[in-house]
Symmetry: D2
Subunit: 336 residues, 4 copies
Amino acid sequence: MSQLRVGVIGYGYWGPNIVRNLYGIEAYSVAALCDTNPAALQKAGRVYPALRTTPDPAEVLESPDIDAVAIVTPVWTHYELARTALENGKHVFVEKPFTSTVRQAEELVELADRKNLRIMVDHTFLFTGAVRKIRELIDKGVLGPLFYFDSSRINLGLFQHDVSVVWDLAPHDLSIMDYVIGTKAEAVVATGGSHFNHQADMAFLTIYFPDNVIAHINVNWLSPVKVRTTLIGGRDKMLVWNDLEADEKIKVYDKGVDVTSREGVYDLLVSYRSGDVWAPKVDQTEALKAELAYFAECVTTGKKPFNDGEAGLSVVRMLEAADQSLAERGKVVLLP
Amino acid sequence: MSQLRVGVIGYGYWGPNIVRNLYGIEAYSVAALCDTNPAALQKAGRVYPALRTTPDPAEVLESPDIDAVAIVTPVWTHYELARTALENGKHVFVEKPFTSTVRQAEELVELADRKNLRIMVDHTFLFTGAVRKIRELIDKGVLGPLFYFDSSRINLGLFQHDVSVVWDLAPHDLSIMDYVIGTKAEAVVATGGSHFNHQADMAFLTIYFPDNVIAHINVNWLSPVKVRTTLIGGRDKMLVWNDLEADEKIKVYDKGVDVTSREGVYDLLVSYRSGDVWAPKVDQTEALKAELAYFAECVTTGKKPFNDGEAGLSVVRMLEAADQSLAERGKVVLLP
Amino acid sequence: MSQLRVGVIGYGYWGPNIVRNLYGIEAYSVAALCDTNPAALQKAGRVYPALRTTPDPAEVLESPDIDAVAIVTPVWTHYELARTALENGKHVFVEKPFTSTVRQAEELVELADRKNLRIMVDHTFLFTGAVRKIRELIDKGVLGPLFYFDSSRINLGLFQHDVSVVWDLAPHDLSIMDYVIGTKAEAVVATGGSHFNHQADMAFLTIYFPDNVIAHINVNWLSPVKVRTTLIGGRDKMLVWNDLEADEKIKVYDKGVDVTSREGVYDLLVSYRSGDVWAPKVDQTEALKAELAYFAECVTTGKKPFNDGEAGLSVVRMLEAADQSLAERGKVVLLP
Amino acid sequence: MSQLRVGVIGYGYWGPNIVRNLYGIEAYSVAALCDTNPAALQKAGRVYPALRTTPDPAEVLESPDIDAVAIVTPVWTHYELARTALENGKHVFVEKPFTSTVRQAEELVELADRKNLRIMVDHTFLFTGAVRKIRELIDKGVLGPLFYFDSSRINLGLFQHDVSVVWDLAPHDLSIMDYVIGTKAEAVVATGGSHFNHQADMAFLTIYFPDNVIAHINVNWLSPVKVRTTLIGGRDKMLVWNDLEADEKIKVYDKGVDVTSREGVYDLLVSYRSGDVWAPKVDQTEALKAELAYFAECVTTGKKPFNDGEAGLSVVRMLEAADQSLAERGKVVLLP
């Protein structure tokens, strides 16, 4: 099989991880790297002397020798770069959040469809052993019907100059939530505060799903401690995912409530189950490597990735709704 | 000094703690105990053979030999009992939440004022070593101006048949929040879900304060793990209170963000401080004992307790607002 | 069935727990309580007005209306009291450590045998849900053949004026070790230090068992943190028991090493297993209650308790050996 | 200032870290790399294309263009390589443990002295922020006179085919202990067990120091959990160093015991102090980089490093004593 020729745009914080992993996957040949910052290109040149580098995105986007483009740049540049890539017949791998607006995301999805090209949005967490294990547990019915998803992603900094804490941290939780809950969110409520400029530095999102499923996300750039904890409660079992644990990232609790409602004696009929706790082993393979291998597979076989443009659009829809709700202090915003 | 003659109404879950502590404080003589449940009175009789017991609240509320009444009954009975006690010239110590409605609380506050009687609402946490230490740190300016208060109080059960998780768990956080923030809340947003009946079993409250201070409270009866953690962030320092820690309940972090906003080069001007962590020793005295001693002192000297009817009313106002917001999926509810 | 008439000697730190539990078990009637300290008897009188109290042990030991005696006094008094009780035909429940010397313990065991009376040594931990679960896991072969037992029991204080940290804290671990390992210890090595007087305030014990099983116990009165952790390693699985955890006291690790030794290529043939972790639910019933119920059963049915005089003697043997080894800075002391 | 020309022997597990850091320090030029394994040299060649490589140690040891040699090979090769290096007038940086025997270490120390060359033994931990902070706290008298040092370094594997767990893991603790206690150890007792071959896979060391200071080290290759915890108790304060904590690696406890011994009333005169806890900020700089910079400084200025051959010899002396004690089941072995 011939290799997929990929060009990379952006060699800042995350770009080096993309390039390193592309080099480690046989399905790829890395055709070119673009960054407008000469220092970034120099840095890349020291590690990959043979890699063609350029400060001009057009050299990547329009090159006839390139099959796919990885866009690893700030969010406000995604739309222009991805559109040009698609228009030039290239598949697109793009950082999260997908775009700055719902309108942009919709347009890119439609364009890719029309040209029969793949878009993959880099929601890396979906490829971690932990999230795959959670999805597996839910798919197998271990938790039973879901009740809630409650996630905290808080730490000190890093303040972003172009996006709020919602656009910086919440895409992780929103994409994971979408992936493991599996139904379409109906409405979003967001509250929060900003203490240094107009951008929110802490925010609290509630997302309503069908069948009384509710999600809550707490993101905060002003926490003295780092927390990465998600609780998922089902009727039959509940789990806690603590991503900062070296081992035992996921714990499944055989706990629950049985409530039989009967008029007049209601309170006598609540009972609690509390049994064993179980920490399934979680695969430790690097998530980004698995994701990029999957991208190559999707491009080659024409398979639609599950983290495609639609998935990215869903997250952007909720981010936009959260912004609107935040601006109106918790007003509920319905999703289409 | 003559003793304060106190009658107790209610000997269910919390009543025994009240009676035990009253017996342990010299300022009190326990004059009578009332419970409509004969089994409860029998249980009390075994421990306190000399204690006068009665199933009829009126015997306590109207007794000329009683100076003060401790009301340790379900919230929906507070108003009637407290009003009758006040009308009969008795000081009132009453469980939290103070009343079922703002209107009731306002009426009781007014009645007590008119008759120059004390009301104390049993927000026991305000008398713990941890909360007193937090208040002291804030009063001394150690944290600097506050940014936020974020509290989680989650566990499995115990479902209450007459109140939602908001009225059951949030009063703790709301009263602590009021006590340590020290300004009046301006508005409330609440979201949440109910999975067994019409009562919310999990809820997420945001409370807005002046000067951009924001509070968030996460209460949940369906969590497989018990969490009692409050983060309080200030400009100069931040603290984490984990009430489940046997030692080191409070940790003060010398951490913070310095953001200097300058046009065009914004992102260069964010810097982070990260220094020592300090766990101040926290007094371990039983909170309820300190609170009841303080009640006796307030009644005797005529001093207004800081956890008086007004404090209880403030919490009920926020609970009522939360209920209203919950019913309208996060609509912001302004406080007077 | 008629009740077992029990007399209690000693109402200091632990005595109140014994008396409270005896009152809660139908098989017992509490016939008398003795303590040489009048304040202790007064305190008991307030809680149990009907209980006969006396400062004279002989009134309990020689009373014809008493079937069994619970000896809850300092260790140096155990021998005299237990011997007199046995000579007077009474069954004996005695605090740990059983006696101050091996000779005393042997004599009591022999005396009880001769008079067909039961001795039970109060190794309460053996009746906790955690230890019973560990024993069950080992008995069922879940861990496979055992490799080691390694326990830490450290905290600040409480210094005892009559015994060293070895006699104060190690009996817990030694009795648990005996109970779960199930074979006879062969030899003891002990090291340690004393920093305030001649008594060791920290000590490190190694106990050798047949088949290469080794135990290690770390006891320390001078630790700033409280630790109660025991590791038990088997060929097939390993477990960690952290008694300070509210939930998940026991975790079973599907971990191990497979070493195939082959000349010359030894290092290629080590492999590691690392699978799921599992925290079995542990029964929360009060251990002392279960133990005292078991004592009544043993006395009534004539059954030999597993924590009998022999079990107590085994612990005293190791304590005496540890003292001897400590005095000679780690000299190995063989057990008979 | 001219650069120090250093040759490196050994590019297995640790060698790459040495080479990478040498490249990152201006004081060095990396002159040559030797490894008998061609794959290792190939691997190095890819990262450092300009680096001269050779399978023959003599090319490094005898090269006139090399001032110092870093020996990063298994312990049984250290003596030969270091001796040849010194004989050829080269300074030596050598992995821990320094040598396989005391005799070898003594000879190398003497040889270096005679030829006025520097030896530095790579006890990397001494250059971590944590250990430097502990040393600083002790030097400043914060802890008061020391009582004990108690360290646990346990995990699953990695079995070494040529050394026991004592020689593999204990050198870390022994060198740290030497560094922070500051006096010469007097005697060693070691117990332990081996479950797969003749090498101990778990061991418990006690080291006696003057003035009643005692150290204890627990090393284990068969633990299901990884532990890296050291307790250091002083008269005035006590500290716990948990190296697995991301933040708050060191906690200083204002805790202690005051015992006044007075005949007859001994037990009344024990009192406990328990105050604040404090986690000083710990420098996060890479320890190996600091250590190698210090080596260059020592070589250039002729200063004797504190982790010199004598320090390495002290550790080897204790390892040899531990082996001897282990073989005789805890027999105390005096150090010279």
